[in-house]
C-alpha cells in the first residue's frame, strides 16, 4: 500500500459522502502516513489517533472511516483525527479543535484488556468520571428521494453517495410495527 493509494482512498471516500480532507498538507500527510503504518502492522487501516488492539474483531469500529466519523463531523465539524472535515470548516468558518472521544468506554477497555489478567481489580465505575460526553444520537433509516438509496445512520449524508443529491433530498423511513392479534 503506497501513500498515494491511501490518499486516493480517503479522497474518494470524502467525495462520496460530501466531506473534505484536512487542508493542512503536513497534518494530512501525517495522518495518511499513520493509516499506512497501521495497515502495515495490523493488516487494516485503523484510526491513527487511537490505540488499536491488533485484533480485527475488537478494532472493527475504529477502522478508518470509523463508526464515529459521521456523528463527530455532524457535531464538531471534524472527525476525531480531523482527517475528514465539513465544508464550513474547510472554508474557515468553523475552527478545528480537539474532538472528545465518542467511542464507548467498554470498547476501549476491551481493546486494552487483550493482555490477559489486567484491569481486573479495578471497578468499572472508577473510570466513569471523565470528559464531556459527545451527545448520544440514535441511528435511523433514511432514503434518498431521488434514487432510493437507503442508509442507516444518525443523520443523512451530506450528499447521496449514489446519485449525488443533496442532504435535503433524504427523508426518514418510519417503520411502524403493529402488535395486533
Amino acid at each position: 500500500m503506497t501513500l498515494d493509494k491511501v490518499r486516493q482512498r480517503a479522497e474518494s471516500d470524502a467525495k462520496t459522502y460530501g466531506y473534505y480532507l484536512n487542508p493542512d498538507a503536513d497534518f494530512l500527510r501525517d495522518l495518511l502516513e499513520g493509516l499506512k503504518k497501521n495497515e502495515e502492522r495490523y493488516g487494516y487501516p485503523s484510526c491513527p489517533c487511537r490505540v488499536a488492539s491488533g485484533k480485527l474483531e475488537l478494532d472493527r469500529d475504529i477502522i478508518c472511516p470509523c463508526d464515529y466519523r459521521d456523528p463527530d463531523v455532524a457535531e464538531f465539524g471534524t472527525c476525531y483525527c480531523a482527517l475528514y472535515i465539513r465544508k464550513d470548516v474547510l472554508e474557515g468558518k468553523t475552527p478545528i479543535a480537539p474532538v472528545p472521544e465518542r467511542r464507548p468506554q467498554e470498547k476501549q477497555v476491551r481493546a486494552y484488556a487483550v493482555a490477559p489478567e489486567v484491569g481486573v481489580e479495578k471497578p468499572p465505575e472508577a473510570a466513569k468520571a471523565v470528559s464531556p460526553e459527545p451527545s448520544q444520537v440514535k441511528k435511523r433509516l433514511w432514503y434518498c428521494r431521488q434514487c432510493g438509496y437507503v442508509v442507516y445512520r444518525e443523520d443523512p449524508p451530506y450528499v447521496c453517495p449514489i446519485c449525488k443529491a443533496k442532504r435535503e433530498m433524504f427523508a426518514e423511513i418510519v417503520v411502524s410495527a403493529s402488535a395486533s392479534g
Binding site: L31, C49, C81, P100, Q105, Y112, V130
Partner: protein, 94 residues
Amino acid sequence: MNKIKVPGKNNKHKVLIYAISTCAWCKMTKKFLSDNSVEYECVDVDLSSDEDHEKIRQDIESKGAPPSYPTIIVDGKTVITGFRKDLIKKALEI
C-alpha cells in the same frame, strides 16, 4: 515502560506525554513543546507492551481523565487531554 526524554531549557515543570506514534495531534503537541524549549518525557502508547497499555490507561483514569491521546500530565497532577494549546501554555507558564 519506555520513556523517551526530550531535553529542553525550560525544565520548570515535570512534563509527561502519553502519545500515539501515528497521531498527528500528538506530533503537533510534541513539536509545540520542543518549539518552546520545554523538557518532557514521552511514551508512545502504541509502541508499548499490552501490559504497559493497561498501566497507562489506569494512570490517566486515576487522574480523572479519559484515555485519549495525547494526554499531557504536568507535575504529576494537571492533566490535559488533547492538543489544547491554551491549557498547555497556562499549565507550563509559557
